[in-house]
Assembly symmetry: C2
């Protein structure tokens, strides 16, 4: 029996928001396995804002996705055939799957990693995956969080922000303020996810609310959005503040050259720093961080929340929801 | 005999460039000394771009200068009367003098420091003063310069830039590129002040020249200007680059809200950092740094160059020349 593999490829580079013409479906036959390979049935795709940056024909930390090429993506699935000692049928593995139903894992560059056990697959892909680890490394290794810090996190109801807020409280932050869009998200952050306060940027002045909530300024800002919110936080920094640049989702769908943070001069006045990072640079630390996060989940001090889109045909809708802020928590596409 | 002290006070907050209405002269009598005080005849004023920022009614690291208040400034002079054991007639001292002919030094907050000996007063105020120490701390403590770095310095023919370029070479930088305005400055940087290359931002494309001169990107950027030049360097960073924010002179005379660096997203892609600092935070290190710089001057490996404006009535012209880039080297006003 020949297996058919459904793939989602880039059809047109988006100019602004994603739409039905951005991707198209391609069905291809799955080739027989070679020695050292395993076939993985993809169960979930990890939908991350960074995928949007790869759709532009612009230099980045990875090359752009070519027209007609499969969308690059993380994901996780189950081994269903194996010709490798490394993989047994039934194993759950994660790695770069791409937007497709089947992926071939090998023992080289195409190797996939065991999914941490003890939690369900969506939780493992969220808090114990690159999302949760990004939050951890951003706060600790880049932001040097310390007890008593006033911490502000943007896109706070997104996957990274939700974990970052809970971790910041656990690390002893004096105040953790989330910035999110809409009253529903803001209420959830405070009631369920450990935030002390939330600013609804769609209905409140971020600058004014920051001044009220953080009268002595912001010590640590975990930035997922860039743009005007970054600029507002720059205007309200404490001395020796640290800005952790994790993403700039506000600009990813922009068609015009986005404005830079005109208040960056505050970095001099407040002797502050702004630092970018990528979680992939810190792979050696992942196992130890995963163990710490898994222990927090087991202890009930860290909650995981996912926003699941059904069906690979709707993968692009999941990405679109993420970029327009429709999601609460980690966006996953359930493939099968 | 009553001494008359000529002071320069802020008459009108400048809106854009400085002009004849910005400051005015005020002659006041010098009061008799009290116990613990000394009278200092000011010889030179240190003209720094930061003075311009204090003329705006905007929050900064120090409060704005009030209308009718003397212009705040560093300076140096000679003790001519003393009622303090700390000061002897004939001593050369430096500190916050303000723009005036006489200043009273005391033993508290108004204390002044001995000028390092062995060099002439202008050199002491330039390379051994806050200017040279700013270059040193920016490169070393903030920029973590290391051997083999590709270093770019803006306002390279200004006081800080001239010292920074020479120090970067001495610290083993592989390539030191200066950015300055006009062919005269650029030629001087390369021929006299140890720069490997110079970019004339008034006549060349900074972006294009940076790509040519630094094909593997910029490791350390010492930024004195901000604005479009900062943005151009952001587009040409090496991995793990450090941007040292020392000033943003391009914006100080701006009447419109300046543009922020829209390429700041490169900080994420290149895992780079941008950090502001103020030399006054590092006072404990000054003596050791001054000793190192003095040894370099004695050995002939560090040159000092000053741009001297004659007469306190022209102090505002000295500041204006600095802000419009007329100077080469450190701007000083010779008071008497």
């Amino acid at each position: 029996m020949e297996r058919i593999n459904r793939q989602v490829v880039l059809a047109n580079r988006p100019h602004g928001p994603l739409d039905a013409t951005t991707t198209e479906i391609r069905d291809v036959a799955v080739a027989p396995l070679e020695e050292g390979q395993a076939l993985v049935a993809v169960r979930y795709l990890s939908i991350d804002a960074t995928i949007r940056t790869w759709m532009d024909d612009a230099p980045g930390y990875l090359p752009p996705i070519g027209i007609g090429e499969m969308i690059r993506s993380g994901g996780a699935g189950e081994v269903i055939e194996s010709r490798s000692d490394r993989y047994a049928v039934g194993d759950l593995v994660s790695g770069l799957t791409g937007w497709q139903e089947y992926v071939v894992a090998d023992e080289g560059f195409g190797a996939m990693s065991p999914v941490p056990s003890g939690v369900d697959l969506p939780t493992a892909m969220n808090v114990l995956g690159s999302t949760g680890i990004t939050a951890y490394i951003g706060l600790n290794d880049i932001g040097h969080i310390s007890e008593g810090d006033v911490v502000v996190i943007s896109a706070a109801a997104g996957a990274t922000g939700m974990t970052a807020g809970q971790l910041a409280k656990a690390k002893g932050a004096a105040l953790v303020v989330g910035i999110a869009g809409g009253p529903e998200k803001c209420a959830l952050l405070v009631n369920e996810y450990g935030y002390d306060a939330a600013i609804d940027y769609k209905n409140e002045s971020v600058t004014k609310r920051l001044k009220e909530l953080c009268p002595s300024g912001v010590d640590l800002y975990f930035d997922n959005v860039g743009g005007e919110i970054l600029n507002a936080v720059l205007a309200n920094l404490a001395m020796n503040a640290r800005i952790v640049l994790c993403g700039a989702v506000s600009g990813y769908n922009a068609t015009e050259f986005p404005l830079g943070p005109s208040n960056y001069f505050a970095l001099i006045i407040q002797r502050a720093s702004m630092q970018g990072f990528l979680v992939l640079d810190h792979l050696a630390k992942w196992p130890e961080i995963q163990a710490e996060l898994a222990a927090m989940i087991a202890a009930g001090t860290l909650k995981s929340r996912e926003y699941i889109v059904e069906g690979i045909d709707h993968a692009v809708d999941g990405l679109s929801d993420l970029l327009t802020g429709k999601n609460i928590g980690k966006v996953l596409v359930k493939v099968s």
